[in-house]
C-alpha cells in the first residue's frame, strides 16, 4: 500500500503543479512507482507540464461518474515506465466530484503504487477539500512573499482539521541575490512563522519555465539548480537525510536553515 501526498498552498501560482510534476518524476527516477493526480478541475495543467496532454482519453470526473474504469483513465508517462497521471477534467468545475469520490479513487491508486502525488487547486473550498480527502501527508508550497506565506499558514491550519499530520514545507522561487540584499523574506523568518518542518528550498530558475514549455519536468535535466532541489526533496520524502543545497545567499542563512531542518 502506497502513500498519498497532497501538494497544496492556498495561493495560486506559487508552484504546486511544478512541484507535483517534479516530485512525482523525481520519485520515479529513484525507482518508485508513482501516480500523479490532478485535482484542479477546470484548470488542469499538470498534463501540460508533463507533456502528456495529447494522451488523455478519460479524466477524474469520468472515473467518478463511472464512464470508465480507473485504469483506463491513467495516462502513462513517456519517459518512465512506473510513472502515471490521472488528469483532471478541463470542461467541468470542482463541484463535479465530491471529497468522498476522490478519496475512494486515491485509495484504489495507493494499492497500485508506492506514491500518489495529488496536485491541489488554489483556494480553500471544495477543490481543496477534494484534494486533501484521500491524502496521508501534505507538502505546503510557498514563495518568499507575505501573501503566499499568509495563505500557507491558513492552509496549515485547515490541514490540522483534516487529520493530516505534520505537513512539510517547500519554499519555492528563492532568489539568491534578493536574499543577499534583504529584499526578500528570510527563509528563517518564514520557518518561524509557519512552524512546520522544511523539506526543501527551490531556487527561482528560468529553466523551470523553459522545461514546462517543452512539456518536460525540470528534474529530467540533472544540471539545473531547481532540478537538484527537487531531487533532494524526493530523497527526503523517502527518508534520506540530505543537506539543503547551498545557495549563494545571505551569510548565515544556510546555517540557520540547516539548523531548522535538524542537519546543522
Amino acid at each position: 500500500m502506497g502513500e498519498a501526498i497532497v501538494i497544496t498552498s492556498g495561493k495560486g501560482g506559487v508552484g504546486k503543479t511544478t512541484t507535483s510534476a517534479n516530485i512525482g518524476t523525481a520519485l520515479a527516477l529513484l525507482g518508485k512507482k508513482v501516480i500523479m493526480v490532478d485535482t484542479d478541475i477546470g484548470l488542469r495543467n499538470l498534463d501540460v507540464v508533463m507533456g502528456l496532454e495529447n494522451r488523455i482519453i478519460y479524466d477524474l470526473v469520468d472515473v467518478a461518474e463511472g464512464r470508465c474504469r480507473l485504469p483506463q483513465a491513467l495516462v502513462k508517462d513517456k519517459r518512465f515506465d512506473e510513472l502515471y497521471m490521472l488528469p483532471a477534467a478541463q470542461t467541468k468545475d470542482k463541484h463535479s466530484v465530491t471529497p468522498d469520490q476522490v478519496k475512494e479513487i486515491v485509495t484504489q491508486l495507493k494499492r497500485e503504487s508506492d506514491y500518489v502525488i495529488i496536485d491541489c487547486p488554489a483556494g480553500i473550498e471544495q477543490g481543496f477539500k477534494n484534494a486533501v480527502s484521500g491524502a496521508d501527508r501534505a507538502i505546503v508550497v510557498t514563495t518568499p512573499e507575505n501573501a503566499a506565506v499568509r495563505d500557507a499558514d491558513r492552509i496549515i491550519g485547515l490541514l490540522e482539521g483534516e487529520n493530516i499530520k505534520s505537513p512539510k514545507l517547500v519554499i519555492n522561487r528563492i532568489r539568491a541575490n534578493m536574499l543577499k540584499s534583504g529584499d526578500m523574506l528570510d527563509i528563517d523568518e518564514i520557518c518561524q512563522v509557519l512552524a512546520i518542518d522544511l523539506i526543501g528550498i527551490v531556487p527561482d530558475d528560468e529553466y523551470v519555465i523553459k522545461a514546462a514549455n517543452k512539456g518536460e519536468p525540470t528534474v529530467v535535466n540533472p544540471n539545473s539548480k531547481a532540478s537538484i532541489a527537487y531531487r533532494n526533496i524526493a530523497r527526503r520524502i523517502l527518508g534520506d537525510s540530505v543537506p539543503l543545497m547551498p545557495l549563494e545567499g545571505k551569510e548565515g542563512v544556510m546555517a540557520k536553515v540547516k539548523k531548522l531542518f535538524g542537519l546543522g
Binding site: N146, D153, G157, Q192, V193, A195
Partner: protein, 219 residues
Amino acid sequence: MMAAKHHVTIKGNKEGLIFLLDDSCTFETLLQELRYKLEKTHQKILTGPIVHVFVKLGNRSVSESEKQSLIAAIKSKGNLIVQRIESDDDDADQAHDHLFIHKGIVRSGQTFECAGSVLYVGDINPGGSIVARGDIFIMGSLRGLAHAGSDGEESAVIAASHMRPTQLRIAGIISRPPDEWGFDETHMDFAYLNEGKMEINKLNQLHKIRPDIREYKGV
C-alpha cells in the same frame, strides 16, 4: 412616569419575595422604578412582618456600588431583608477573573477567544486573532491581532515576549503599531491604555502602571 414599561416584577413564594429586575434597561431606570414601586404602588404588601428578598438580575452584571444601592433601596423598607442577589452573568463573571492557560499556534484565519484572561504559550500569526475579556499574556510571538478587554474593560493589558502585531485593541481603542509607534517590534513589552490612548512599556513596569491588576483565581 416610567409606568408604561415594567422593569421590576415582584413575586412571592414560600421563602419570601423574588424581585425580578429587567436586564435590558439602564441601571438608573431600574433603580428609579424599584424605589417608586417600593414607596408607592406596592406599599401594602411590603409592610408587615420580616420578609426575605431574592433579587434576580437576569443577564445584567452589576458593580459592587450598584449592588449596594439596590440593597439600600430595598432595605429602606424596614421589613425587607435582602438574602441574595443573583445574576445569570455570574458564571461569565467568574470566568472573567480566571486566567486560562493555552498552548498552540493561532494561524491565519483562526480566532482564539477567551472568556477571561489568557496566558497563551505559542504564536499568534499574521491573519490570526486572540480575543479575551480580560488580559492577554503571550509567551511567544504576537504577529496577528490581539484584543484585550473585549467587553470594554479599559484597564486590560496585552503583553507578549515578542510583539510585532498587525493591530492591537484594548476595549474600544484600536492601534496600528508600526504606523503609530514608529517601531515594528518589541520584546517583553505590554500595551495598555493611558487616558484613552494606547501606550507601550516594559513588562517590568506593569506592576507600577497597573498596581491593581486583577488577582487571578484558580491559577
